[in-house]
Symmetry: C2
Subunit: 409 residues, 2 copies
């Protein structure tokens, strides 16, 4: 058995140091995928990995793979991965913790001169958030064959800039072919982004899977008309329709034990004395089971039909079925947690993560730590230094103890 | 008595000709105040007025006054006024009809070599719509002393460009001091922008006044959080609050016989998997009586307080009390309509107009004609050629028959 301990102060210091790339007032980070701030943190990440003897490769969608050699040259690496991009009003931990805790694991091994049987790999996945380019988890999805190069390149942001333009602009179109990089397993450490661990006073969540989620765009067409001379009874107000749909959808979600969120709503040609004639809004539906999500979708579609008839167009733009992580990897995390005597529970993730797609091509599991008030996607997002260190130690324990088949043994 | 008849074909042709300045797909016009399209139509307007012997002056907020001399040099002009700017999704008639019918009146007099006792004046008021620079009716309000030069100059559009910058950019900061231009009365011809005249099969609305209206900005603060891992019961969703307020406000307006419209709603930092933490929306409340509007406002403020408590900030940004036009001017229009045997009724305007402010400084009245489906602020806004001509003829009849006191008689 090893006697390695990650450096809690160094990990915390590294989190604070990189939070300067895209820092916002209020302690948050705005580091949109492939923006200049993303380039800065990528350059920094590459330099730090190379400084401890890793080789860094970049694939054609910008995913970054830093490899630390193992004793067995034929073994596939055991990977640690998450993302360094943030929401427009993101915090210091979502995604970032998983990459920087992985870096702390590698630094700890490097400082101790510790050699592993398997190579280790630290991965920064591109565009996990989906905030600049929808859909989310684009880099890990492309790696896993869910999205092809052409689809990924053609995504555009709200300014009309394509993913292809943006990646060329910051110089992060790598040469490693998409999906070619292989690993034996991947572990992802992440803040919970929900209130469960904090409320129950636990240190570690052993994540067994991710709830099902679907994204939609809804376009509602009403009739533009003058706000002062169009009687209330003669209006066809697209925003009034949207309001009824937002409230009705949330009521259905509550009743069926799911979740419903509208995060974007945009009136075409808004003017304060014109009844909105057209608008576009997003819809995000989630449920712990696929059948629960099906039921939610059917009721919501029915509500929209009743409210708007053929004046509404609901388009599904993304579908992520419920995910069940690798039993072997979950067991690795469970044992690591037990050895470290950390308090824990099993949990289903409410949010999507790169691990959702990676679990399609490699055994995968996740480790959660609590975050304050369950908040994320918010400048006030916060995690305790002690919890970050515990999570990083469980991560170290997991990658060292994970038993993956090694060729030639 | 005169025997003058306006040229229906020429009036229609002029409406179609000027609709090229800012023409949009679908037959509409996007001619925002002080934009390049507004400059084009202003240049055209000035040239047409000068071509028939008028002198054109421009005041310091861009209001344009074209004067046709009268026999009595000491008499104040009798004015015709409206506006050439449009909503972002405007049509060919709102405001424009009033200015171009005035031009047709002057052309008819010019062609006939007809001299009037009073000078006549044709006015293009700046920024009636309020779509680019709130509040609406800014030019006529500034002329009437409701807004001063500094206030007007400091208005900004959504790109942060000030009124002062915009007017300098198109070269329409005139030298005539604000409010100095005087006239004995003003008549404004306008489409009804509502469904009443069309439904009752009438040609002319004799407008006796304008309903009371108030504009507000409402800022709602919730809490940004992750859409996937924040349970429905732990959310503070600013958009859900807004939806409840929009529906509740419209219900109150219906019950109290008023009107309520939200034409603008903007989520701060929108992202499809983030619960909206902050948003701004407009609120436009109207009622035919001031006391009715007071009652409406009280109930709406109470609703907002109940929904959001101190997370909402409702700010009144504009207040226009119910207006009663000049009895003398209304009588002039009534008689003109009767002489021409046009079918008519008295009507209260549901929309604001430049005449609202002008009625504070000069006797004023309005003439309505029907528009298709009561639609305006819409590319499909439409009026019959025959109705436009009837309205212009009533306008001609009104300015020729109006008895205003003439000094020295």
């Amino acid at each position: 058995m090893h006697n390695l301990t990650i450096d809690s102060d160094r990990l915390w210091q590294t989190i604070m140091e990189t939070s300067a790339f895209g820092a916002t007032l209020g302690g948050g980070i705005r580091r949109l995928t492939l923006a200049q701030e993303d380039r800065q943190v990528r350059d920094w990440f590459r330099a730090q990995c190379e400084a401890i003897g890793c080789t860094v490769k970049v694939d054609t969608v910008g995913n970054m793979f830093a490899t630390r050699p193992g004793i067995n040259k034929h073994a596939l690496p055991i990977a640690i991965g998450s993302h360094l991009d943030t929401q427009p009003t993101g915090g210091k931990f979502d995604g970032i913790l998983g990459v920087l805790a992985g870096l702390e694991v590698l630094r700890t091994l490097h400082d101790a001169g510790y050699e592993t049987e398997h190579p280790l790999m630290l991965i920064n996945w591109t565009n996990e958030e989906g905030a600049r380019f929808a859909p989310a988890m684009l880099g890990s999805g492309a790696h896993s064959g869910v999205f092809d190069q052409a689809f990924t390149d053609s995504r555009t942001d709200t300014d009309g800039i394509s993913f292809a333009e943006a990646i060329e602009r910051i110089g992060y179109r790598g040469e490693t072919p998409l999906g070619e990089t292989r690993f034996a397993a991947m572990f992802e450490l992440h803040i919970e982004q929900g209130p469960v661990l904090e409320r129950e006073g636990l240190e570690i969540g052993i994540v067994t899977g991710v709830q099902a989620m679907r994204w939609y765009d809804l376009v509602i067409t009403g009739r533009e008309a003058h706000a002062g001379s169009t009687p209330m009874g003669m209006r066809c107000d697209a925003l009034a329709d949207a309001a009824a749909i937002i409230l009705g959808t949330q009521e259905i979600a509550r009743r069926l034990g799911g979740m419903a969120t509208t995060g974007q709503l945009s009136i075409a040609a808004p003017s304060r004395n014109v009844i909105p004639g057209k608008l576009t809004m997003s819809l995000d539906l989630r449920h712990v089971t696929d059948t629960g999500l099906d039921a939610l979708e059917i009721e919501v579609a029915d509500l929209i039909q009743k409210q708007c008839g053929d004046r509404a167009m609901l388009q599904a733009i993304w579908n992520s079925p419920a995910v069940h992580f690798s039993a072997t990897c979950i067991e690795t995390v469970r044992r690591a947690t037990k050895r470290l005597k950390a308090s824990s529970r099993e949990i289903v993730s409410g949010a999507g993560h790169d691990s959702v797609y990676i679990s399609r091509v490699a055994p995968t599991a996740m480790i959660f730590i609590p975050c304050r008030d369950g908040l994320s996607h918010n400048p006030a997002e916060s995690a305790e230094k002690y919890h970050c260190a515990t999570g990083a130690q469980v991560l170290l324990e997991s990658v060292l103890s994970h038993v993956a088949s090694v060729p030639g043994r």
